[in-house]
Structures are given as C-alpha cells and as structure tokens.
C-alpha cells in the first residue's frame, strides 16, 4: 500500500469522485429551481411496476441529474466554456449585439398552418368582429443585432403568409405589426434577456389596433410609469453566459373596477409580489390564467363595450391599455381554457374578438382547436 503515493492522479480522482458522490448522498434535495422556474425531480419510489416498465431507471436518472451538487455552478461553467470556444449561442439562445439575446429557431413547425386555419374558421363562424395580430419575435424585428448568417427562419414571410390565409375570410381584420415595430426598432420595444415585448412594444401594438378600429387610444404620457429593475428573463435562464445586463420592466397603473380570476377577485392588474422573484414578467395580469374578466372604470370611450381577448402572455402587457377602450375584457388563454368559446361570446354578449399571439406560440401551440368548441 506504500506504493499508492506514487499515483497522485489516482488519489486525487478517487477522492474527487468519492467526495462528490458522498456529498450528493447526504445533501438535502432541492425542491424548486428558480433559475429554471420549475420543480426539480425528486427521488422516485421503488415499486415492482416501475422497475418492470423501466420507468424507475429513467426517473431515478433524472433525479440524480437534477439534484447534482453545485448544479448552477456547473451550468455556469459550461456556459463560460462555450463562450471561450467562440460560441455565440448556448442552450438554443443566441447572443447578439448590444446585449440582446435571441431565440434560435431553425425550422418551421407544421402546426402553424393548422393554427392559422383554425383561426380563419373561427372568424367565419362567429358573430363577433374578429381582429387578429401575430406579433413578431425580437429576432425578426431586431435583425441588425443578430450575428452574421444566423440561420433563423424568415418570420416576416411566414407571418405575411398567415395573414394571406386569414384574409380569405372577409370578417377577419388583420392587424399587421411588422412595420410599426420596425419603425420603432431603436426604442426599447423588446426585452434583451426575455422572450416578451416590453410594455412600450405592446403600446405600439395597441396603437395599431386602435387605428384599425377607429378607436381613440390612451396617451401613454398621461399614465404614471413605474419601473421594476433587475429583471433577468427566460433567455438569460437558458443562455447563462457572462456579461448579460438585466432588463427593466416598466408598467403603468390603470385603476380598474375589479378583476375576476376564477372565484378570486383582485383590485388591480398587477401582482406586485412577483417583482421580488426571478420570474418578474408574471406580475402582469397575475400570470396566465384560463379566464380573467377585467371590469374597467367607465369612461366615454369604453361605455358598455365588451372585448374577448384570446392571447398568450404577450397580451398581458397590452391589456392595461385596452381597459381604456373596453369596459369588460374577457381574457382567455386557450392553453388552459377548455370551455366553449362561442357560448362565452353568446352568454356575455361580446361584440369584438381580438386574437393576439406572438409568432412563436402561433407556430407551436396546439390548443387552437379549442376555438371551435
């Protein structure tokens, strides 16, 4: 055994591996990963059933992987190594100029065509006026900031094609945002570290929506702005590299009558508790819920007007402005709402439907079939 000191490498490695194994064994498991915004796998229970269908093996391996000691540090180390290797991307997020992070999107999902057709059919069958807007994602508008030769798909063309399909139904009005957003591309209309548009970007979308309908928009300068600093969004969660500056969320107070989510009643549009956690964007509209009903304070503009808004989370930062023009807004997230839409329209006497999605959700989400319920 004396000889063992002649093998320093072996000694170091054995201590390292045994040490890590041992610490992993005794350390307490983590429940929730804030960075990833999800619960981590816990130790699976051993049963005869899950051994035989080999699900135990998979579950246990996931558990070992996700509970690995110093998880965030390893992940950060990998991200830095990638940067040192000259990579401009990590975990499917591309780092562009001016601190902007972008989604890497290489292929066109077949779901897009299905979704657009589902919307067209909905427009045909409903009695409301239907407005549709597909919001381009940041990499489409901020093309100048992308690394040279970025192989992303041509969102602009795909959105245009989708509008062509929608136009086949005369009762649908397309609200095209590409040009508006491009005109303002030097302003802070997209978050650098998150996949959403900012409240300013949403405001330009709102202006376009009002213009198409002939509504008088609320003046953004008349609203009181509040800032939430230090926002690291979802792109940053994935990218994890160094040298990323945080975003600032600006939100505008809009006094409302009340907001009803399920059986709960809220007095305001924002969940300010969320400004303290990592996932700050969830402050808008108290996150994504199946259906929320917003009752605005009555004014000359919105008297008696009712809007059905079918949306993803991009919509959450536009709704505060819409309260100025609609007295009742029925905000529905098709991903979580499974009741009949036509019945909702009929029961509530809704006159206008606005379908507002960002391109990414429009292309990949598979809940649009619920429109026909």
């Amino acid at each position: 055994m004396k000889k063992i000191r002649h093998y320093p490498f072996l000694i170091v490695m054995v201590i390292l591996i045994l040490g890590i194994s041992f610490i992993n064994l005794i350390k307490k498991d983590t429940d929730f990963s804030e960075m990833e915004n999800r619960y981590l796998a816990q130790k699976p229970e051993l049963t005869l059933g899950n051994i035989l269908d080999s699900s135990f093996g998979t579950q246990y391996e996931t558990y070992v992987n996700e509970q690995f000691i110093f998880r965030n540090q390893w992940i950060g180390g990998k991200a830095i190594t990638e940067t040192l290797l000259g990579k401009q991307e990590n975990n499917g997020v591309i780092k562009g100029k001016n601190g902007y992070l972008f989604n890497k999107q290489l292929n066109i999902d077949k779901q897009l065509k299905k979704n657009v057709k589902a919307i067209r059919d909905f427009g045909k069958n409903t009695n409301t006026k239907t407005y549709v807007s597909i919001v381009p994602n940041s990499y489409d508008i901020l093309k100048d900031y992308l690394p040279k030769g970025t192989p992303n798909i041509d969102q602009e063309a795909l959105i245009e094609q989708s509008y062509e399909t929608l136009k086949e139904e005369k009762k649908i009005t397309n609200i095209k945002l590409d040009n508006t957003l491009k005109e303002h591309k030097n302003e802070y209309i997209y978050y650098r570290t998150d996949h959403h548009w900012t409240t300013l970007g949403a405001y330009y979308g709102y202006l376009q929506f009002c213009k198409e309908q002939g509504l008088t928009p609320v003046d953004i300068n008349s609203l009181t702005a509040h800032n939430v600093d230090n926002f690291y969004g979802t792109y940053d969660s994935k990218y994890k590299g160094i040298g990323i500056k945080p975003d600032t969320i600006t939100y505008y107070q809009r006094p409302i009558e009340k907001m009803v989510i399920g059986n709960e009643e809220k007095s305001g549009l924002y969940d300010l508790e969320k400004t303290k956690v990592r996932d700050k964007y969830a402050m808008f509209l108290h996150g994504n819920n199946p259906i929320s009903i917003i009752y605005s304070k009555e004014n000359e503009q919105n008297q008696g007007k009712k809007l059905l808004l079918l949306k993803d989370s991009y919509g959450n930062s536009m709704i505060p402005y819409l309260t100025y023009n609609y007295q009742e807004i029925y905000v529905v997230d098709l991903r979580y709402y499974s009741d009949s839409i036509s019945k909702l329209i009929e029961d509530k006497g809704i006159q206008t439907t606005f379908i507002l999605y960002n391109f990414d959700t429009m292309m990949t989400d598979n809940h649009f079939y619920r429109l026909s319920r």
């Binding site: 000889k3 093998y7 490498f9 072996l10 170091v12 490695m13 390292l16 591996i17 045994l18 890590i20 194994s21 992993n24 990833e36 915004n37 999800r38 051994i51 035989l52 080999s54 093996g57 246990y60 391996e61 996931t62 070992v64 992987n65 690995f68 998880r71 390893w74 992940i75 180390g77 990998k78 991200a79 190594t81 290797l85 000259g86 990579k87 401009q88 991307e89 975990n91 290489l106 292929n107 690394p147 040279k148 030769g149 970025t150 192989p151 996949h195 959403h196 979802t234 969660s237 994935k238 996932d279 964007y281 994504n288 993803d312 989370s313 991009y314 959450n316 990414d360 959700t361 990949t364």
Partner: protein, 457 residues
C-alpha cells in the same frame, strides 16, 4: 446506463469498484457478472433474460462440441444450431421489420410490423458469443466450464453495449487469473477520462452542428455549410465511437483486463484500405476471421475474392443498422476497396498529398450515406455539396463551431498523443485530464438543465 452519465460515474462506479476490490479474488468474476447484469437491466429489464439464455445456449454448445471431439457430424450440427440461434435472434430483433418492409414493398403486401424495441447491445454481444462457439469448434480454445466466467465475459459492462468486440480468446486467460496493479488502474482511469471527454466535450458539441442541418432542412443549406456539416458528422461519429471504446478499454484496465485497441487515428489514412485497418478494428477483424476467411478469403481465385468481399461489405453495412442506406454504405466501401485492390493503391502510394485528399473525400461522402437514412435526402444533400450556392449561413456556423472543429481535427491526428507520450513528468497531463473531467461533468449537468419557460407563456 451510459458511461457518460452522472449516475454511472458517481454512483455505479464507486459502489462497484469498492465491492470489487474489497472482495476476495475468487469472487470477482461473479461480482463482475452480477454487476453487469444489473447495469444491463437498468435500462432494459425485459431483455436480461435474452442475454442470459444466449450465454446458456452457447455455454452448452461449447461443452458439447468439446465432448464430441471425435464426431465431426455432431460437432458441426451443434455449431450450426448455435449459429442459427444466435443469428436468428439478431435477425428477429434487429431486422424483422426491415425484412417485412421490403417484402411488402416488392409484393405490394400488407404484413404488419411487430412492435419490438432493439435489445441493447445485441449486435455486439451476438458477435462476441458467436466467436466463442466458433473458436471452440475450431479448437482454438477450450470450452469454458464455468457459466459465471462465460457470463462475466459476455456481459462485462465495459464492453457490453458498444464494444470493442472482444473475442473470447483475447480474455480467456484473464478470466481465470488476472493481476491488479495500481499502475494499470491509474492508466485505465486516464483512458476513461480521455474517452469521456471525447464523447461529452467533442462528439456532443460538434454533433450540434450536424443536428442543425436537419433542422434547417438539407435543401436550404449553402454549399460551404454542407461541407461543414459533413465534417462535423465525421468528427462526431469518430469521437463518439472512439470515446466509448476508450472508456471501455479504460474500465477494462481498471478491472484487470486488456481489451484490444479499436481505433488508430483512422482519419490520417492514405487509402480506404488503410482506413479500414484503423477504423473500428475489432469489427473488421471479426468479419475477416469469422466471415471472410470461412468464405474462402482470397484463396479461391480472383472472382471469388471479389464476391467474398462484396458479401462481407454488404453484411458490414447491414450490421450497422436495418436500413438500405447502411447496405449502400457497405457496398460503397466495397467498390472503393476493390478499385484500390485493382489498380488505385499503387497509384496512391506514389502520391502522398493526393492520396490523403482522396481518402478524406471518400470518408466524408461515405458518412453522408451513413448519416442520412432516406435515399431521397441523400440525393438532396449531395446536390448541396456541389450547388455552388454561397449564402451567409456558414459564417455563423464557422464562427460558432470553428474552434471545436479545429480541436476535433487536432485530436484526430497523433500529434497530441506523441507529445503526451514524451512527457516524463506527467503533471501537465494530469492537470489537463482533471480539467477535461471537470468540464465533462459540467456539460453532463447542463444536459439535464431545462429551463421551463412556463411554457413560452
């Protein structure tokens, strides 16, 4: 369970080695056997029985072939029966649906497929166990009297799933008696880490470029990107496969076994003939020993030699997967090897530079046929290679993958190994290996990193 997983490195390995080295030497084969069965069962509990039966049948076949040593008829019968079983199970599990697909296509039939997953490592262990029975028949080795030893040989977890293909005669002595030196354990550990790094840091990384090709769609890529893609796949498959072999060889060393080398810098070859002496050596050797030579090799005239080569290379292709592109890939190499045998080799030997360019091109195009399963897509990809369309996409990929491609190319040549072997004081090498190990762990942890975007809102 994969070697390149946190579960294997930080749970299976420590526990196994502690038990293995603390127990008396006479129990070690049993421990190795049981641990290997556990290792196999982890991912595939249903098919453990299949491999155990395979061991049993060949175990009995070996003993009976030896017992009826004087009766050629019985010997042959037993051998043939064992081969029918071995090949039969392989055919059933690996090629059944492929055969049906082709029958349906030719006869416009509508026979339904069976829903059976491919048992892990079946291509590898079937070849290994066949080598055993054939060698007993050829009287190259004595029949193994201990089921545990034979089981430990076949199931041995280092080489169970992805080779190298270790034939029984190579390890039969070590199965009975092997020596354990700290020197070997340390050396094994080094080789293991090198293999881990090959797989996790290089193969997985350059693999990202190749995966993107399919995502973008082969029809949409520029000509430079098409070549970059092929280069990245070539590096990916080499570092993946060689990485696995190295990890296996390293683990073998730590257990007291000497496994044969499987790759010897194949990409520096100056001809395709040389390439196949350097690539997946244990497989080529197996086919030579147990197919080419029994068919008559080159001893039955020129025509028969080429027919034999054709058979061997078609089967080699088919061994890699139940799909036509693999068969074409095999035949592609048959054609090149035949041309070299006929006249090309003499010419290549005179031309050092051209011969390398020719070989690299031949290998790259070969990987195209290998990597793309649908013939239609192979045609499209081939078209892109000579499309002279030069858009900007390759700039992005060169910028992002240039460095790792250079590192991959560098490690494909023997330069670094020569440097490594020259170091008398290994401190620098040790630090380098430690860094490779830590980085591999970081990449493995990151692979399980999965930010939930809630979702995409």
């Amino acid at each position: 369970m994969l070697f390149s997983s946190l579960l294997f490195i930080f749970q299976f390995l420590p526990v196994f080695f502690i038990i293995y080295y603390l127990s008396p030497i006479r129990f070690r084969n049993l421990i190795l056997f049981l641990a290997s069965v556990f290792f196999y069962a982890w991912g595939e509990p249903r098919f453990v029985i299949l491999i155990l039966i395979s061991i049993l049948i060949n175990y009995i076949a070996g003993i009976f072939i030896e017992r009826y040593d004087r009766n050629e008829k019985i010997r042959v019968t037993i051998l043939v029966l064992s081969i029918i079983y071995n090949i039969g199970t392989l055919m059933f599990f690996k090629y059944f649906n492929f055969i049906i697909e082709n029958i349906n296509y030719i006869f416009k039939g509508d026979i339904s497929f069976i829903d059976i997953p491919l048992p892990l490592g079946i291509s590898f262990y079937t070849f290994q166990i066949m080598s055993y029975t054939i060698d007993v028949y050829r009287r190259d080795t004595k029949a193994e009297r201990s089921y545990i030893n034979l089981g430990a040989y076949l199931c041995m977890f280092p080489q169970l799933i992805a080779g190298p293909i270790v034939v029984y005669t190579q390890v039969s002595k070590e199965l009975r008696k092997r020596s354990y030196y700290l020197k070997d354990i340390e050396k094994g550990l080094r080789i293991f880490i090198l293999g881990l790094g090959s797989k996790v840091l290089i193969a997985n990384n350059v693999g990202g470029l190749w995966d993107d090709m399919a995502q973008i769609g082969y029809a949409n890529i520029s000509m430079p990107l098409a070549w970059l893609g092929l280069l990245s796949f070539s590096l990916q498959i080499y570092f993946d496969f060689n990485g696995y072999s190295l990890m296996a060889i390293g683990l073998g060393k730590m257990l007291g076994f000497d496994f044969p080398q499987n790759f010897n810098f194949p990409y520096i070859s100056k001809s395709v003939t040389e390439y196949w002496r350097r690539w997946h050596i244990t497989l080529s050797t197996w086919f030579k020993e147990y197919l080419y030579i029994p068919l008559g090799g080159n001893r039955k005239g020129k025509l028969r030699t080429y027919i034999n080569l054709f058979i061997v290379w078609s089967v080699t292709g088919l061994w890699h997967g139940a799909s036509w592109n693999f068969i074409f890939w095999g035949i592609y190499f048959f054609v090149l090897l035949s041309l070299e045998k006929l006249f090309l080799k003499k010419w290549l030997e005179k031309n050092v530079i051209l011969s390398r360019i020719y070989t690299i091109l031949a290998i790259l195009l070969g990987w195209m046929i290998f990597a793309i399963t649908e013939l239609e897509n192979i045609k499209i990809y081939f078209g892109r290679l000579f499309s002279f369309s030069i858009s900007e996409d390759w700039i992005y990929y060169l910028r992002n993958y240039g460095m790792i491609l250079v590192i991959g190319i560098l490690f494909s040549t023997p330069f670094l190994k020569k440097w490594y072997d020259k170091q008398a004081n290994k401190i620098l090498c040790n630090i380098l290996l430690l860094v490779i190990f830590l980085l591999s762990i970081a990449y493995l942890v990151d692979a399980a990193y999965n930010p939930f975007l809630y979702f995409r809102f």
